[in-house]
Amino acid sequence: MLKSDLSATLGALVKAGVEFVLVGGLAAVLDGAPVQTYDLDIVHSRAADNIVRLLGVLESLDAVFRIQPERRLRPTVSHLGGPGHLNLITRLGPLDVLGTIGRGLSYDDLLPHSVEMDIGGALIRVLDLETLIAIKEELGGEKDRAVLPILRRTLAEKKAHSSH
């Protein structure tokens, strides 16, 4: 049975005290943009104690790399300490654990551009729409460009709404 449980994955991270900013498509959805997404992307603090907490959650979720899942390769402290992207599959669905995004933006860089959101019992930090748009514009890939009109219109609607 295929499984996806976004709330439970986020809840496990929050419960363990993992410091992270939610980015990517799910951040766009929580920011109000009507886009479809299947995975969950986080940029985590690469402080040593946070990596230990994150690794504990990943182990509890039975996380392995999505590429060659039959090899059951598990993320390590060393992987989580680097700036790269770890594309994982867990028992609750896909999870991308990102050391940096865009042109080397880390958790510390993104934190001031995030907003706290209540997702029903857990408070998480979500990258704001302005920064999400700026990063996608900078990257300029086809996938990023495809979603930009929706993100820009959502931001314009939010601003129009908040100015009333």
């Binding site: 049975m1 295929l2 499984k3 996806s4 449980d5 976004l6 709330s7 799910l26 959805v29 929580l30 109000g32 943009a33 009507p34 479809q36 997404t37 299947y38 959101m117 209540d118 997702i119 029903g120 979500v126 009109p149 929706i150 219109r153 959502t154 609607e157 939010k158 709404h161």
Partner: protein, 55 residues
């Protein structure tokens, strides 16, 4: 009930083709409601894929 003969309201799209009514509907939800909606959609899609994979 609609008054007889009243035409359907025209859909509202931006000049680049984005459905503005969909954005406004999303913005009317709380973040928790947006997450729950997305989760339901994903689960529906996974169920449909699974049903069709068995055929």
């Amino acid at each position: 009930m609609n008054p007889a003969g009243e035409p359907a309201p025209a859909p509202e799209y931006s000049e680049d083709g984005v459905d503005l009514s969909l954005i406004r509907w999303m913005l009317s939800l709380t973040p928790a409601e947006r997450l729950a909606f997305l989760q339901r959609r994903i689960n529906d899609i996974l169920t449909i894929r699974e049903l069709n994979a068995e055929k």
